[in-house]
Symmetry: C2
Subunit: 207 residues, 2 copies
């Protein structure tokens, strides 16, 4: 099977990106990252890509008249590299309808058990804050395909994290991040091995 | 410590009730069930109570002019027996505001990971139907204290169940029920051992 060309969008430190870099370089994932784009100049993930010899660019949203125009540029960059999978690895900007319609497979990781603690306003530390405020005993992480809603697309993988009585946003985030770092490369690997089939809202994983 | 007097409301088969019966009779739970009330005459849970020598009554909602009047009768029955904990063990009727305000501690078991797949319209098999339709990979069960909302009160215990690719409502319900049968007596035991402390929305469990 040909290796899948992967495009990654980031906004920050890129620890989830790093897990994909590691697993493509060591051959676990049958794919290669062709381009990393950040909407933040200082995103450390750009340095991670650079260190791995992966093309990486900062594209400044402020250089564009609208969110739609910014997204047109992103589409163009990924299209000319013929990527077959877009991965949102901690990308905190909204995607345009055109972007979502331009790529058949866009994968996102969310730091909760969707459909709990997701949707508009639930990103980054806010998710864990709300988990602690609500008082749930279990949270987790979700990898899903992106559709036009916010965190509403078909779910690929989920795994759980126990919420402890003395957890803070920081301690909880740390343990959820460990799950993210396990689930995201696993989902990308399954995709690149052609083992994911979407049936309605359900994602069937072949054995 | 004196044994806690427990009142139980049921509507059906009463397998969750049975787990409390078993764990009070064998001494695991430091409490005793003083009364089981069903809103359904044919509820098999009444027979389970009878077999264990526990007072049990069917009270017909149709004999009352309103839901509020029906609840006044329930309050009266439990109050004259001085119960310190009400357990909803598969009770499918709505409680009145007066009922909820009349008892400090009311416990409910819900067959999902609250706040997912709960609230109005999510009861019994419908919960598992919606879980399968959504395509989540993880579900579970929740024991919580009851407040004036539907499934919104402070969470005592939660545990998870993996959703399998070939699950049906029946197979999923069966595995979730196993978790319910473990969590509910555990929560009642913790309560009767005075190990639950409610702080805001969080339930702190002493070790």
């Amino acid at each position: 099977m040909p290796r899948v060309k992967i495009g990654v969008l980031i906004s920050g430190g890129g620890t989830n990106l790093q897990t994909i870099i590691d697993n493509t370089l060591n051959g676990t994932i049958n794919g290669e990252i062709n381009l990393v784009i950040s909407n933040k100049k200082e995103a450390y993930g750009l340095k991670r890509a650079e260190a791995a010899g992966i093309e990486n660019i900062f594209i400044n949203p402020k250089d564009f008249g609208s969110m739609e125009d910014y997204n047109k540029r992103l589409i163009q960059e990924f299209k000319i590299r013929d990527v077959g999978l877009i991965v949102l690895a901690g990308y905190l900007k909204v995607l345009s309808k055109e972007f979502i319609e331009s790529f058949q497979y866009i994968m996102n990781i969310h730091p909760s058990l969707i459909p709990s603690f997701c949707g508009k306003g639930y990103y980054g530390e806010k998710v864990h804050e709300k988990v602690l405020d609500y008082g749930v005993k279990v949270t987790g992480a979700t990898v899903h395909f992106v559709d036009e809603g916010t965190d509403t697309g078909p779910i690929i993988l989920q795994d759980v994290v126990e919420v402890k009585a003395d957890d803070t946003v920081e301690t909880l985030q740390k343990r959820v991040l460990e799950v993210e770092h396990r689930l995201l490369p696993q989902a990308v690997k399954l995709f690149c091995d052609n083992k994911l089939k979407i049936e309605g809202r359900r994602v069937i994983i072949s054995q």
